[in-house]
Amino acid sequence: MASRMLWASRAACHLRISLFRRGFASVIEHFKYADSHEWADVDGTYAKIGITDHAQDHLGDVVYVELPEVGATVTKGKNFGAVESVKATSDVYAPVSGDIVEVNTKLSDSPGLINASPYKDGWIIKVQISDSTELKSLMDSEQYTNFCEEEDAKH
């Protein structure tokens, strides 16, 4: 166990990551959350969508974001794009269905915004919601925080 910890700290040093992670990742109170770790910031019939602090922390440094086109339709629970980090591409899923009205093109040149500012500058798409009843099945910030704690406890 001790040698493994020593090993892990050497590996962490090489990878330039901190072993001393926060106990839990941050959430924004009035956002809604999906169990696939995306958030939705609802404003009337529109929602801005991105991935959570928990998600970006578990992904590592994002080096590439595959963005959808404006005008495309997203469906709740289906992937609309992907992010690449540490040689892993991970799909990103729509928490709600709708039509994409805006895409954060800054992510093409600055994919790291997702890590640095997952809830603000790292937003991914903005949609016009097609079915607002879908919002009911999303978690609030407290439920999502508990969900993350349970998930992390598995390991």
């Binding site: 090993w7 050497r10 590996a11 090489h14 990878l15 330039r16 990551i17 696939s36 998600a55 922390d57 578990h58 992904l59 590592g60 440094d61 080096v63 590439y64 595959e66 992937n79 992907a82 690449e84 980090s85 540490v86 040689k87 892993a88 591409t89 991970s90 799909d91 899923y93 998930e151 992390d152 406890a153 598995k154 390991h155």
Partner: protein
């Protein structure tokens, strides 16, 4: 009372984390990709347990999602002349080469079941290769920032490229046992200039056993790191191809 204990026993058995490993030979890249996609789909619905494919490829170059074809240094048309194929994939990572005598491992596993994120999973793949190398007295290390993979000094011995969909992994890792390293001259491996590649054969002073033995050891390292309780080894790859309608 005894009945209660029997029920508890069964529950503990079902809580055991099981891994099914398919020991395969040299598999065409597209066949393996098709197989992974079908296994991934079955894993998502819980039809199959966590599964690993252990195999080798004929000479094959692959590109990741970012399509960094500028890192292929010869015209695509020339690849046939050197007996190699080129394929575009959805995995993370840059351009790489797969070929005989290189251990390729494709885990199709549920990260959500074990609460692992992409970063931790990739670190575990790196650790497995590092542990394997150490069995042969080779000291390998993970790369620095943006240099995911496993290195001996400044040369890469193991590469990683993964795709995660609904928490299920596919693609995986490639570890150089003793492939023909000349094939790497035709690319900028993983898009990293001025760093070369190496192999276990080059780095170890020990005699190497058959590839099959080394591949099994690699899987065992990975299974232990991912905390599986039991491994089921399967060798009837023809059954797998038949069930999934490949070839």
């Amino acid at each position: 009372m005894i009945f209660d204990i029997y029920i508890v026993d069964l529950r503990i058995m079902s809580l055991q984390r099981k891994l099914q490993v398919w020991k395969m030979g040299i598999v065409n890249y597209l066949d393996a990709l098709q197989l992974q996609q079908k296994l991934c789909s079955d894993r998502k619905t819980g039809k199959i347990p966590d599964t690993i494919l252990s195999l080798q490829h004929p000479p094959t170059y692959t590109l990741g999602k970012r399509r960094t074809s500028h890192n292929l240094l010869v015209p695509e048309a020339d690849l046939k002349n050197i007996g190699a194929e080129l394929h575009y994939t959805e995995r993370g990572g840059d351009i790489t080469f797969h070929g005989p005598r290189q251990a390729v491992v494709y885990p199709i596993i549920s990260l959500r079941d074990i609460g692992l994120g992409a970063r931790k999973y990739v670190e575990t793949l790196e650790l497995a290769m590092i542990e394997l190398a150490s069995l042969y007295g080779v000291i390998a290390r993970p790369g620095g920032k943006c240099e995911t993979g496993v290195w001996v000094g400044d040369e890469k011995i193991g590469a990683i490229g993964v795709k995660i969909s609904l928490g299920i992994t596919c693609h995986g890792l490639a570890f150089n046992i003793d492939p023909d390293l000349n094939y790497f001259n035709h690319i900028v491996p993983c898009g990293i200039l001025d760093k070369g590649v190496t192999s276990l054969r080059r780095e170890t002073r020990l005699d190497l056993p058959a590839d099959e033995v080394i591949q099994k050891e690699l899987i065992q390292c990975l299974a232990r790191l991912l905390r599986y309780d039991a491994i089921e080894w399967r060798e009837d790859e023809s059954y797998l191809f038949e069930v999934y309608g490949i070839k």
